[in-house]
Symmetry: C2
Subunit: 636 residues, 2 copies
């Protein structure tokens, strides 16, 4: 097969690619992450690149205009290499690593709430390291290397009858390890209820073992390096999930993954490479080696977890939506090639169902939801809204498909919460003049999830839209910001000259309807759970909101549009990335890990598509804030 | 590197070999097992081949005579390929597979004593298979595949809290396995005290799972296929250990194995290939696949066990003689590439010390030595004599280096117990005329271990040798059979014309002294153990003798030469290959396997080289039967 040289600009980076390779794959090979909402189907138009020179085969042009095509703009996913090429990838088509926001923790510190939980569960990590000094064998004291070591380990660690597992690979190193170290060795082990597993033997030393708390999100992946002795967060690194090139959402990725076995391996490798890439950066920065990493705890949604392990996800997508596993077997790192001790055990958070995953159990754990009489509501808002309700006696959970609006998807000027995104808006109800707050105070280029919630609340307050989300073109102000287009109505948030672009930044009636459907789905999920267990809204003592989006949400706005229940602001709490917090906690505490596994078993999953309750609730929630205003007394 | 074509005769088999390959390795590649006593050092002369044509580099000629060299006879280990060659491997230089004797069991039957033990321990194999019919998932009954399966397995098998381990590789197959089978599946599992491990999931069926009992001897390897449901021996196959080309004895193999990492892998691969070769033959014969093989139990001496696992054996050989492990961790078959279910667990018998291995624990188990008040002596006679003494309260064991005499090594006409070997002899004390019994009634070509014992007893009775083993050339008969040579004295067992060869088959004074040293070493070992625990010979209620050699031993002769203690014949028992019997038993009974592991812990190993007792006993035993005739009242 012919190979060609593909140069990527402005990096001026050259890679070799086989004839027929898509520019999307070629870019990935060059380390350039190109957006791909539809997973390479040519439909979303996110992967536009500029072909500066060279031969290619164009397999599809999607929504590109004749003008764009004339200028050399192509869809990277549908343009196949036929010769040497030079390509420019414009900023708007890139996933940019530095934009992964990691605002919720400071390096070196666990948050106070995490400290409290760690105190409660007890600091007893899933990996330990023990220095052992052994007697030197003689003709009369001639027990085998492994007997000598295991007897002393049992004595020092007071293991009782707990099985100690010795992997063959470590056993092979044992004779030389002991003798080179002159019988003074440090033993790294995984320590769980089921037993101890030896994962490393080295010259005796007192350096701490480290663990990884890994949050595998559909969009972003975050790795934390934890000192397992002190519990300290030593370093952290986040980036976009390299699976992004196979699609933005789990469904697109599942469709790709199940096409053939090679695809499944490819998409598994993409996330493993993502994690390894983060880990390598951290290791370099901390002057550590993979042999210092003794443990990993992974939290992710059910699809992310299955793909991470290379387990076929097809039945997650097909009714009746069955995941392969909810309790995930632990396995040695070498089995998926993570850059840590090859025999170190990788643990994955259990999930509850296909659409309530390990990230939600992790959040439930750090919310400390199941340990008191108070009823607590936990919500993680992303493409799916996952909701958990319960207390020490019962736990119910559901997932509702909110769609990608809150993450910027399907919204004309939607974008993630990154520099340039509108996050707050003030609208003068008389003149409809607009003041904006933009992330990093840059010129506005779009609007993020929390901005959307704020915007719709303000559109409603200003009378620009009615409670059904319909635009009121005859607004008394006569403002030019409110206008009809050929096929929609829109409100101008920033004029083109303010936005530094060619187009006005607007929100359309269609955008508003999308957000109403999204918030309706989540509110209906909350109501369905409440109905099911006959709990009134007022009985909820705390509402805990997780997810990057949740962190920036304005409570007043959210209640006003009917996304969140109408309760006093004091009852609301934001906990940011609950998933990685749960991963950190379980990594550091065997009891927390046991509790996590227990939570997975105790939680009752409610399939909202069964029965009519949810659909009724959903229909009733398609108003601002709701059809039944008695549910929102503050806004009556 | 140049490659040449090497043709082996009379097979007319051609293989390709790199320039510089030894003919020993080339022959192995051609599937022809050439004897190699010294492991390729060029000293033993066992690997003589006839170079019919072609260029070679001769690196050493050992004990070859100028006549032999002139005829084209070369040492295969020291002759390196330099061009296309044609080689003839004469029969006497070959290890011949069909000569591995397997007389001690009949296919289809466990011996009565094994049945009794199995009844006692209980038939509960280390691998089980369970057919399970699962409910079909629905929207309301939507637990994950693994939860559905594990809950039903727990219910059916009444596992209680026992952990169930699901390997990643099986988990990956789970969704398709369940659905293709329409939720009616058969699950194969390894079942031990520590938990259940799923090793295979297939369409529901009632075919039995099979297990392998494997005896890895230094010389021969035997594989038995066992139906784990009925306990029946379905098939068996034995052959020479392919490691033979690296030396006859464990020390030579250790020296080879530790030269470099590649050698260790090579010698490991040799035994794994040996086992796989046997297994493949059995599978073909029984129309089974590797996926039917659910379990393996391996018994071998400590060195064989370490080499089978690829664990560096160097410290077995160096004082203070420390093995890497006595309790051997179990591991999945895929880790060493055995042709069985990749995730099926391979168990290896524990050993006690470097020279008291798993084969001896296996023998102790089937001897049922540790379960009554009676004191029992277990002896396995081979190159090493391993001895166990004890009862339910205490167990002591030792190993004494008998040398290879009893296996035919170091004896002028020594050979293994195979067709053509003299096994019985009658000498007329007046005329010194000789009558022989030869295995398979063939013409005599040499003398095997049991024949040697008999021969020496008869030489003594006939006055041909004195109690120190000195030949009495002035024997009253004046027989020409008794004669002096340039550097030794000898007795003719068969004249050349009777033996169909060019030489008379003789036993020399040096041969006799070698046997006296061998029997002295074993008897001294027995006496040392007895002294240590202050037990009189008379207090031994049973003497159980294992090993291929032991099977053909004449008790009267053995006592007369002082190899075995002077007790009534009724107290002696032969149990043949005790090692593989123990492997069969543990494969079929979890309790037996626990007892085996317990035996390994309970047994006290006595290092004979410590202290003077053993050396004193050895010196005293260098007479026929002994210096202290009061120990042999029957022959006083």
């Amino acid at each position: 097969m012919s190979q060609f040289r593909i140069k990527f600009m402005p990096e001026n980076r050259v890679i070799e690619a086989d004839q027929g390779t898509s520019l999307l794959n070629a870019a990935a090979k060059a380390g350039i992450m190109v957006k791909s909402g539809c997973g390479g189907k040519g439909t979303c138009g996110a992967c536009k690149v500029d072909v500066l020179s060279g031969d290619s085969l164009v397999n599809g042009t999607g929504n590109l205009t004749p003008e764009q095509l004339a200028k050399g703009i192509r869809l990277a996913c549908k343009t196949l290499v036929q010769g040497d090429m030079t390509i420019e990838v414009p900023p708007e088509s890139r996933l940019q690593e530095h934009q992964v926001l990691m605002g919720d923790v400071q390096k070196g510190l666990l948050q106070e709430s995490e400290h409290d939980l760690l105190d409660k569960f007890g600091h007893h990590p899933l990996a330990i390291k023990q220095r052992i000094s052994l007697s030197i064998p003689t003709l009369t004291e001639n027990s085998s290397d492994w007997a000598r070591l295991s007897i002393e380990l049992r004595r020092v660690l007071k293991t009782g009858d707990k099985p100690i597992h010795m992997p063959l690979s470590i056993l092979k190193q044992l004779p030389e390890s002991l003798r080179k170290a002159n019988w003074d060795v440090s033993i790294t082990m995984t320590d769980t209820e089921a037993g101890l597993t030896i994962t490393h033997i080295e010259q005796g030393n007192d350096a701490p073992p480290y663990g990884l708390a890994i949050d595998i999100g559909t969009t972003t992946v975050v790795v934390y390096l934890i000192n397992l002795i002190t519990g300290e967060i030593v370093d952290q690194q986040g980036t976009y999930n390299k699976q992004a090139k196979y699609g933005d959402d789990v469904i697109t990725r599942i469709v790709y993954a199940v096409e053939n076995e090679q695809n499944l391996i490819e998409i598994r490798d993409a996330v493993v490479e993502t994690v390894n890439g983060l880990l390598d950066k951290i290791l370099t920065r901390q002057s550590l080696s993979n042999m210092n990493i003794a443990s990993a705890m992974v939290a992710g949604n059910t699809t992310m977890t299955q793909l991470f392990l290379g387990v076929d996800p097809r039945y997650i997508r097909l009714e009746p939506y069955i995941p392969t596993m909810t309790n995930v077997p632990s396995f040695p790192a070498r089995e998926i090639g993570l850059h840590m001790l090859p025999e170190a055990i990788v643990h994955c958070y259990p999930s509850v169902a296909s659409y309530v995953g390990g990230d939600i159990i992790a959040g439930t754990l750090v919310t400390d939801l199941a340990n008191g009489e108070d009823i607590i509501l936990f919500i993680d808002i992303g493409t799916n809204g996952e909701i958990v309700l319960g207390n020490q006696d019962w736990l119910v959970a559901c997932a509702c498909s909110a769609g990608p609006s809150f993450e910027g998807g399907g919204i004309t000027f939607g974008m993630r919460a990154m520099p340039g995104a509108i996050e707050r808006i003030i609208i003068d109800p008389e003149t409809l003049d607009v003041s904006l707050k933009v992330i990093n105070n840059q010129t506005p280029v779009g609007i993020c999830g929390s901005g959307l919630v704020d915007c719709i609340a303000k559109l409603l307050s200003a009378g620009i839209i009615d409670r059904a989300g319909n635009f009121q073109l005859g607004h008394k102000s006569g403002s030019q910001r409110l206008r009809a287009t050929t096929d929609d109505k829109e409100f101008v948030l920033a004029w083109a000259y303010q936005a530094g672009g060619e187009k006005d930044v607007v929100i359309t009636e269609n955008d508003v309807k999308n957000v109403i459907r999204a918030k309706g789905a989540i509110y209906a999920g909350i109501r369905s759970l409440l109905n099911m267990v006959a709990v009134d809204i007022e009985m909820i003592s705390r509402i805990v909101i997780a997810g990057g989006f949740g962190n920036y949400l304005n409570i007043h706005d959210s209640v006003q549009i009917g996304l969140l229940p109408d309760l006093e602001p004091e009852r609301f709490e934001f906990i940011g990335n609950a998933s990685v917090k749960g991963a950190r906690l379980a990594l550091l505490s065997q009891n927390a890990w046991r509790e996590a596994e227990e939570l997975g078993r105790k939680m009752t999953y409610v399939e909202l598509s069964v029965g009519v309750t949810y659909m009724d609730e959903y229909m009733a929630a398609l108003f601002l804030p709701h059809t039944d205003m008695s549910l929102f007394p503050s806004f009556q």
